[in-house]
Symmetry: C2
Subunit: 137 residues, 2 copies
DNA sequence: TTAATTGCAAAGTTTTTGCGCACAC
DNA sequence: GTGTGCGCAAAAACTTTGCAATTAA
């Protein structure tokens, strides 16, 4: 599997325009979960020719190609992240909206176990835990 | 804790209009995760005087009162369910959008464990597992 | 009585799309 | 060269809100 987003786009046979390269580069350097407005702002800073319509079209294209993951964390906007980042799950603070990443080997096993219990194999699982995290004393 | 949604509304001191009673009754009998359009359709069938603006205002009110849970399962529409149903989690089929409910005692324990590992106590947790479930042979 | 709630229509947000021009292949 | 992608602006989809009339308590 190629490493960068741009390389994966090329491997998928996507036509690479300047706009797509810029958006791919922005996503590559991103380690949070930007929404379209945020991606548009970051991409525009590098190349003012980019329109927000192209950002919408591009993230949809990349998501359908399996290059990006789309999330809806509860604020009404879609958020995106690189689908090939090291696997992790999300804890979403329902009060503040903050997203905390975590990875736990036990929960990885459980995801498979739960699917098996329900009679399924699970393709491409990911997990979101919603709650109000309160700092322990 | 009172049992029905209407009773919980009254216990919270919410002013109970005919519209709110109708929407509460619809939610009470609902065992899926309807969006606002669907709730509006079901409520309108009982009382055509209800407007969609009232449905939006009412689900928001009920959610803020802790009577309903709001979900965004990835299709861009908010969905609602009774917050006092027996605790369960959701497996969302990323391919079809279908929502499968499940409950697993091990994962209940893990939700607390993960929060503790991250240094938190968790208030009101719930969990969503996204993947493409494939029926086992 | 009176403050809260409603319906309606307008407006706000987020996302998609039609079209003529431009570009990647 | 040709089919795909782009910017722009309009539209669609979802949600919120201002206002005058109505209603619960």
């Amino acid at each position: 599997m190629p490493d960068t987003i741009t390389e994966r786009c090329e491997a998928m046979g996507l036509r690479m325009t300047d706009q797509r390269r810029t958006i791919a580069a922005v996503l590559q350097e991103t380690h949070d979960h930007p929404d379209v407005d945020e991606l548009y702002a970051r991409a525009s800073a590098r190349d003012p020719r980019i329109s927000i319509a192209t950002v919408y079209r591009t993230v949809k294209l990349f998501e359908e190609a399996g290059i990006l993951e789309k999330h809806e964390f509860g604020d009404g906007r879609a958020r995106y992240e690189d689908a090939e980042r090291d696997h992790h799950d999300h804890l979403i603070d329902m009060h503040s909206g903050e997203v905390i990443e975590f990875c736990d080997p036990d929960i990885e096993k459980l995801q498979e176990k739960i699917a098996a219990k329900l009679g399924y194999r699970l393709k491409g699982h990911r997990l979101e835990l919603y709650g109000v995290p309160i700092k322990k004393d």
